[in-house]
Symmetry: D2
Subunit: 154 residues, 4 copies
């Protein structure tokens, strides 16, 4: 079915993943704009689809029967700026970039745009955990996959 | 900690469970009222707390390591009427009643009030499933616990 | 920006609107499948995008300064069947069809598929309301737009 | 109806507001724990109820017909630490404290506990905006109400 909807997981442009997000009723609150916590949902969609396009899927990570062998991601910390509000019917774009990789964690920058306007910006640290919640070293193939998207040294 | 908040799971009055629910920002949409799907979240809170007060907790049901031994609930069908909208800051009450019990399913009626005004009404059928999603006969102790809350025959 | 994402609002195939929906973390619950109320969010996305493609946008409907002149939609009743659960990473399709139009209400059928499998089915009645919540006659251009998608009489 | 549920908006203990929050199905995701963005919903409930108990309600703030006279709150930035995960059926407590007040903004600290364990911590800046989204000076009565809850100077 993904063949029928080629853009469903967004696109990678150079080192940035771009995911379009439509603002629906469910996303807004009575003040007329997008409810602040929902930008975090948009960011998580962006992260998930970026990882999907580079070959890391949640269902595979979580698939194992043995809790010690399952792998998943958890966000450890975030810094967030809410710049301008998004509104019903808006088409937004979530931009996701790798900012750094450590032994057991990686750092992302995520910005949300409406056209040229930046509405939201966040930086975050995520870790890989096993099924019992314990942090794990990043697997070698994940480090390799992520490293291609790190900012250039120069 | 539950001792400190005695009403947190609502109360059983006769055969009806009553749970208070506050309407927050997160519950509303840009049209100014509670987003329609959120009444289903309120109903699920009511069901969970009714079951909690009569001794059935989700964490126990789901706790088993063996998927075939885990138990959970799944809603099979619902009929819903949206009567009047709820608004920010409203205090609602979710009323939950048992309407019937079968071998592998049970039927509930759930209504949401603001004071005397009924805002929402639903009837639903739920089943007990194992960890693989297969429907199960209702365990005997569950049937016994639920039966006390069935409407009187007369 | 919509030019960049041509499928964002789905497509109309004959009389059926089809919207792809990806299942993300936010959609699932601890039982491992999509939380039941979230299928209603998917349906609302389908309705919104169907209306968008035939020229009815929420922001226009709601745009007026005068509450008596604003227009919006409200769901009045729904009948829902939860058939099979959706899971993380699934690509679903929401299919929306008009089932009937009255003076002040219209009826839709909405089904959610994963490939050929039907996971969820609903029928619902929606009304047009003004900014004070009062039901309104369907505007003539809306009736004309909707009527093209009614099931054939034969 | 609030009389019937005296703890619904939590309690103020000295300078800290405490709100109990139950973890329901809707709050968790398929990884088995509370979905990360939902801690922001809990925090917003805590803020709303703290303000409610000291006499500031959203419906009053937003009530005006004239957009320039309406007032509301918007979060401008947040720093968040996710320490340990919460799980289904958990009873959490959201603790909210004022950390500072400026001319057009105020700063809060919000922590979420399960018993003695701290699961989540955040600091945030909020502003008062009018109905068009423009930041406003904090009204004098709001400054007076908030100031009682500022940390002592010594």
């Amino acid at each position: 079915m993904t063949d029928a909807w080629p853009d469903l997981a967004g696109r990678i442009d150079g080192k940035v993943h771009r995911l379009p997000v439509r603002v629906y009723y469910e996303d807004t609150d009575f003040s007329g704009v997008v409810y602040h916590a929902n930008y975090l949902r948009y960011c998580e969609r962006g992260r998930s689809d970026f990882l999907r396009l580079i070959g890391v899927s949640h269902s595979e990570l979580h698939g194992g029967e043995d809790a010690a062998e399952r792998r998943g991601f958890a966000v450890k910390d975030m810094e967030i700026g809410f710049i301008k509000p998004a509104r019903i019917d808006d088409v937004l774009e979530v931009h996701t970039r790798f900012a750094g990789i450590g032994r057991a964690r990686f750092h992302l920058g995520q910005d949300i745009y409406r056209g040229e306007e930046k509405l939201f910006g966040a930086t975050l640290t995520a870790v890989v955990i096993d099924g019992t919640g314990r942090p794990q070293r990043l697997p070698g193939d994940m480090v390799a996959a992520f490293s291609e998207f790190l900012p250039s040294a120069d």
